[in-house]
Amino acid sequence: MGTVRAGFVLQMRFYRRYPDLLVPLLTAPLYGGIFAMIMRYNGRTDLVGAVSLTPFYMSLWWFALFSGGWIIQTDRWEGTLEYLVSAPADFAAVVFGRVGATMLSGVAAFAETWLFARYVLRGDVAVRHWGVFAGSFALTLFAMAATALLMAATFVLARNAVTFSNSASFPFYVLSGILVPIALLPGWLQPLSEAVFLSWSADLLRASIATGPVPHPVRGMVMIALLGTCALAAGYTVLRRILGQVRRTGELGLR
């Protein structure tokens, strides 16, 4: 627990020293404004609330990808990775603590996006189903942290990680149904998006601010938890294997 905490504190200190990591907090309101304007222009004021929360997912993903996903690789570049793996603390716990801190900035992104949507864009974003909202929100942060851990582990050895991380965002946004409803995607894409936890999150979050009952709340939350747990297990496994591999090849300290 002390280790997770140490990783968390470290990452929070990084945010103070590398404020550029917090860029999504600047861009989120801009996106929100754009999305809301498109809806207004098309006369769909009823959708302004839902779309103006979309930038929250974009920020959350951005944090997971850029501050979370690059954690291990930057440690390798800095030469700190060798010291991290020679310390008694569990390395995965350090990474998880740091990823956790990136999720805290996700919470800040949500607060910002919500306030902007409510008071500037004048969308209807009042939470009507608090249980669904709180449950799916917490599970979403967990699943996103697990996904970030998986990316962090994978990026260490994937030679084209930079290309991936620069181009993965848009397909991810599409599959998760945060830009366009999944129902509008081509039929063959839809099953794929069911494997993306964020698609379930987005459905539940939108439903929790909508009037009327939430369809299948339990199924949605179970799916987020399940997909998150899979990502965590995969991330942990990949991390172990990769640490073993770089210890064997001697690439641990290479840039």
Partner: protein, 339 residues
């Protein structure tokens, strides 16, 4: 005439049997047996950084690793600190196998490697120490006071709250050292720890190592600084091409090459110096102030030299024993800058 010759003088071959350990019995702090480490290379045979290296370091011993660039010192340190896996062979730290029980090993060790890297440069020195201390599982209360103590002890207190990127190289090196000490390790691996330190800092460092030794900690110290090795180490191992060539106490290393390397006498006049230089086997005659040093190629050249000196009425002589550096050069071979 007083010539102090010790035992029969021979040029000792490499691999002379190691003298018995005089340290506390029981599990050695470090034991490496037949360690081999290869680094794979693309489309070439792998580099063999360690070629069957064996080494034993007793609990509480300060052990030096000497050897040229590329000899395998850092590779050995990395294997012992579980950063690298050996290709074959075994190593234990306080009885724990570095491959199978890496976690137990990590509980016991502190690692300091030379260089500018390995610190979070945008954080302060204190923040770095706090983070690494937490990773060493130091309880929070203890961590606070120990951080304070180490910053003070290593002369970093004034810079404790400045970002590490503003530190000079020697200051970074001291912070590395503080990080290695924050976990209260029983066994310390120090790879060129005084690299970049100014003489005063280096002297403070040596004092610190002395204190750590008094606390019965085991220290494996890789260094290129012969004075440092001579003043700090209980024993030194010469590493060449990935194996240990010899292990000795720094005061007994002379025996590895030849017990007497030359003679020193009260200043000889120019004529005598010239005559001495002509004697077969004499490699150099240098006069420095009130003393003249005569170096010989081998022990067999002494009798002739001694006769000559007696003929010239020289009655006071001292034998010259090789320094650690002399031994190093003779053992490792004069390879220049080749690696």
């Amino acid at each position: 005439m007083t010539v102090v010759t010790r035992d029969a003088v021979t040029l000792a071959p490499f691999g002379v049997p190691e003298p018995e350990l005089q340290y506390s019995a029981g599990t050695p702090a470090i034991a490496a047996v037949d360690l081999v480490r290869e680094y794979p290379r693309k489309r070439k045979d792998p580099v063999r950084a360690l070629q069957g290296l064996s080494l034993t370091v007793a609990q509480g011993e300060v052990h030096g690793l000497l050897g040229p660039n590329g000899a395998g010192k850092t590779t050995l340190v990395k294997i012992l600190s579980t950063i690298l896996l050996p290709t074959s062979g075994q190593a234990t730290v306080c009885g724990h196998d570095v491959v199978r029980h890496g976690r137990d090993v990590r509980e016991l060790i502190g690692v300091v490697m030379g260089g500018d890297r390995g610190l979070y440069t945008r954080l302060t020195g204190r923040q770095n120490l706090e983070f690494w201390g937490a990773l060493q599982k130091v309880p929070r209360k203890v961590l606070r006071s120990r951080t304070e103590h180490l910053l003070e002890r290593l002369g970093l207190a004034a810079k404790a709250d400045a970002r590490v990127e503003t530190y000079s190289r020697g200051m970074k090196q001291r912070l590395h050292l503080a990080r290695g000490l924050i976990g209260d390790a029983r066994v310390l691996f120090l790879d060129e720890p005084t690299m970049g330190m100014d003489p005063v800092a280096a002297r403070e460092f040596r004092k610190l190592i002395g204190e750590l030794r008094d606390e019965q900690r085991t220290i494996l110290l890789a260094t290129h600084d012969m004075t440092e090795a001579e003043s700090l180490c209980d024993r030194v191992s010469f590493v060449r091409d990935g194996t240990v060539v010899a292990t000795r106490s720094p005061h007994a290393v002379a025996g590895l090459v030849s017990a007497v390397q030359g003679l020193e006498l009260d200043s000889a006049d120019a004529a005598l110096a010239a005559t001495l230089a002509e004697v077969p086997g004499v490699t150099s005659v240098t006069t420095d102030g009130a003393t003249t040093r005569i170096l010989v190629r081998s022990q067999d050249d002494f009798p002739r030299l001694l006769h000559l000196l007696a003929d010239h009425g020289v009655t006071s002589l001292r034998t010259l024993r090789p320094s650690l550096e002399d031994v190093y050069v003779r053992l490792i071979g004069d390879r220049g800058l080749e690696v």
